[in-house]
């Protein structure tokens, strides 16, 4: 085990700004990308549902 304690883990040998700044931004941006993509899909489907509203009945 590399870390004597939770505090040691967070401190990263004094490099916490650099290491957590890297990991934090990386996974934060990845989470944001997924969230934005889910929102985009939802907005597109809502918009198409609205404008197609009556067209769906006609198509059947």
């Amino acid at each position: 085990m590399n870390w004597a304690s939770w505090n040691d883990f967070l401190a990263m040998g004094g490099y916490s700004l650099y290491v957590w700044g890297s990991y934090g931004v990386t996974f934060g941006l990845m989470a944001a990308e997924i969230a934005l993509l889910i929102l985009r899909k939802r907005k597109t489907l809502e918009y198409l549902g609205r404008i197609r509203g009556s067209a769906n009945q006609v198509a059947q």
Binding site: M1, N2, W3, F9, M12, G13, G14, Y15, L17, Y18, V19, G21, S22, Y23, V25, T26, L29, M30, E33, I34, L37, I38, R40, K41, T44, L45, L48, G49, R52, A55, N56, A59
Partner: protein, 254 residues
Amino acid sequence: MAGRNWKSVNIHWFKYSSPQTFFPLATKLTPWFGGAAALLCAIGLYISFFVAPTDAQQGEAYRIIFIHVPAAWMSMFIYVVMAFWAGAGLVFNTRLSGMWASALAPSGALMTFIALWTGALWGRPTWGTWWVWDARLTSELILLFLYFGFMALQAAIDDPRRADKAGAVLALTGVVNIPIIYFSVQWWNTLHQGSSVSMKSAPTMAATMFAGMIVMALGFWMYSFAAALLRVRSIIIERERRSDWVAQYMRTLQ
């Protein structure tokens, strides 16, 4: 011939080359790639922090390598894949190829940004500087500009088919940057270190560090694939919105 069925096996090579047939496949694949990404990243992060030892020279700062190298590899790989499909769309006039290239661009741009960002955060404590205009860093920054240029060019053109073609020309022109990034540390005298990992010989780093890097690279690859699949599904619906199959698909959602 009575009683015998000589019908041959028909392999539909291009079955999934239309937006309509690819869409359900993409829907099915996305959770698998997402799950693989989560699993591989979890394992990779465990190796990165709890298995790989502290570096003798750089202390804990070197752990940025487990993000930096996978992101850099993906930034280059995604660009080549994007340029390939953009080129295929240009040559064969296929809509889905262009859609897939457009879906890959933001994922590649994200990986490039992560590589540059984590590189700067790693460089500050180890080299003493956030940035230097050496060959590798500069060419990776140019890669980011190429991704942004591709996305901006496509956004600026109203007709999606023309946007595909214009983007494809830009993507293909920029492909030369990829070998430049890769060989920059050999061709020029750079602050960025040379490669410790090559196809020809054993890696010159500790086995646990190498393992962590590879697992994270696979995790990033699965993640990029999942994000691009998610994006291409939106792109397909947006661009094919007037077709019957999209109308039917939307009815199934209600």
